[in-house]
């Protein structure tokens, strides 16, 4: 089918892309916006690796068509990372707690946790597990991830250690 222009704000920057209506937001972010931090783990809305913020809310970008983002604000993992090479507090907490191994699910988790902690300032352990249950990880067994979320929630994230 014919391509149509779609204008959306991605990480604070207005972007116009020319895409078929059936092209998913995930594919558009990765290819047309050249932001490859958002990953495809299943393309049917289960694994959460493709999570982005749409107008600030965590959503599965594989279940949205880019054309639906016309006029909206999309924030990807790149948009949640400080531009200067440092890590955000949530990212630093993941690093301190060994909350990632292969890193493939990690951007989806960081984006989801960003939204989750914004809406749950003092989550219980059960709330954290429940809140994270929409993101799949195959490497960590979730141990380091849960520890990282607790650390980030506590506000006591050590500033970046050496290396």
């Amino acid at each position: 089918m014919d391509e149509i222009p779609v204008t959306m704000t991605v990480n604070g920057r207005r972007r116009t892309v020319l895409i078929e209506p059936r092209k998913t937001l995930a594919d558009t972010i990765r290819e047309d916006c050249e932001l490859t931090g958002t990953h495809l783990g299943c393309e049917h809305g289960v694994c959460g690796a493709c999570t982005v913020l749409l107008d600030g809310e965590a959503v599965r970008s594989c279940l949205l068509f880019a054309v639906q983002a016309e006029g909206h604000e999309v924030t990807t993992i790149e948009g949640l990372s400080p531009a200067d090479g440092s890590l955000s507090p949530i990212q630093e907490a993941f690093r301190q707690c060994h909350g990632l191994q292969c890193g493939f699910c990690t951007p989806g988790f960081i984006v989801s946790v960003h939204a989750f902690l914004r809406d749950h300032a003092n989550p219980t352990d059960a709330e954290i597990r429940e809140g994270l249950s929409g993101n799949l990880c195959r490497c960590t067994g979730y141990q380091g991830i849960i520890a990282a979320v607790k650390m980030a929630a506590s506000g006591n994230v050590p500033t970046g250690a050496a290396t």
Binding site: M1, I4, E20, P21, R22, T24, D27, E43, H44, G45, G48, T51, L54, E57, A58, V59, R60, C62, L63, L64, F65, V67, Q68, S112, A115, F116, E130, G131, S133, G134
Partner: protein, 289 residues
């Protein structure tokens, strides 16, 4: 896993939406939250030449009290309903929404979309059926109201015609001493229920059960009202009802699916137990009310 091509429509009024759907009939599909539809498109299990995006149609969101009911705009996000104080007036709905998927799903999924998608294992159709909700439907010939018991026809099939658009759901608000509970069994938190029960009970001033609603999900091609179980409960004196027996009665005659996650017999067995648990909780709540 990429969807097949479609022509995309983004109407801004109900009339336009209905018009496009009417024009293309079975070749068109309405897109609400997309959390159920888009995976089907990605897997190419379904394809439509036309996709009609309802997300820009005005007037389909919002929650308000109207004449003894809570009217929820069909395109109201599940997450918005979850956070809404107004939804507390319909406790069964308030309990059901957090059970749907995960918060990322609820940020896009809609109350109306879930009901119109009519997955027999999902919670909101059962809640609508339990409460005798009214579905407000717009079509080329105008607007009409469909009672929930006439709405669910079969798996993923409702009485909506190709050019109908669900615009709102009206959940009746129960007054007086009442209690509600939804219980489900799923393989993991957020998964589709293997079986579940959505129940409401109301008590008379003397404490007898004056009204009972028991709706099952995951137990057939549509959500089911367990009329015999309800009848057995109505009139029961406080503490007199044998809830285990009523649970068994609720699933008698059902023909639940047989699949990877459980056999028919298993679903009946667990379903009965969940009815018992839900009624126990609902009655406890009503008694303290």
């Amino acid at each position: 896993m990429k969807p097949a091509p479609f022509a995309y429509h983004a109407p801004t009024t109900v009339a336009d939406a209905v018009g496009v759907l009417g024009e293309h009939g079975d070749d068109a599909k309405a897109l609400a939250g997309g959390q159920s539809l888009v995976p089907l498109l990605a897997l190419r299990l379904a394809r439509f030449a036309h996709l009609v995006d309802l997300n820009r149609v005005e007037g389909l969101t919002g929650i308000q009290r109207v004449n003894g009911s809570l009217e929820v705009g069909a395109m109201t996000r599940q997450a918005v309903a979850e956070r809404s104080d107004l939804v507390k007036a319909v406790p069964l709905l308030a309990q059901a929404i957090p059970l749907i998927g995960h918060f990322q799903i609820r940020n896009r999924g809609t109350v109306g979309g879930s009901i119109a998608h009519a997955d027999p294992a999902s919670e909101l159709p059962a809640v609508a059926l339990a409460l005798d909700a009214s579905l407000v439907v717009a079509s080329p010939s105008g607007s009409r109201v469909v009672p929930a018991r006439d709405f669910f026809v079969s798996t993923w099939t409702t009485s909506l015609a190709a050019d109908d658009v669900l615009t709102a759901v009206r959940f009746p608000v129960w007054e007086g001493r009442c209690g509600f509970a939804i219980e489900e069994f799923a393989r993991r938190s957020g998964d589709f229920a293997v079986t579940g029960a959505a129940c409401g009970v109301a008590l008379s001033p003397s404490g007898d059960v004056s009204r009972a609603a028991v709706a099952l999900f995951g137990m057939g091609p549509t959500p089911l009202r367990a009329a015999d179980a309800e009848a057995a409960l109505v009139g029961a004196a406080p503490g007199a009802a044998d809830l285990s027996e009523i649970g068994e009665l609720a699933v008698r005659g059902t023909d639940p699916p047989d699949d990877l996650h459980g056999s028919s017999a298993y679903r009946r067995r667990v379903g009965a137990h969940l009815v018992t648990r839900a009624l126990t909780r609902a009655l406890e709540e009503a008694n303290h009310g």
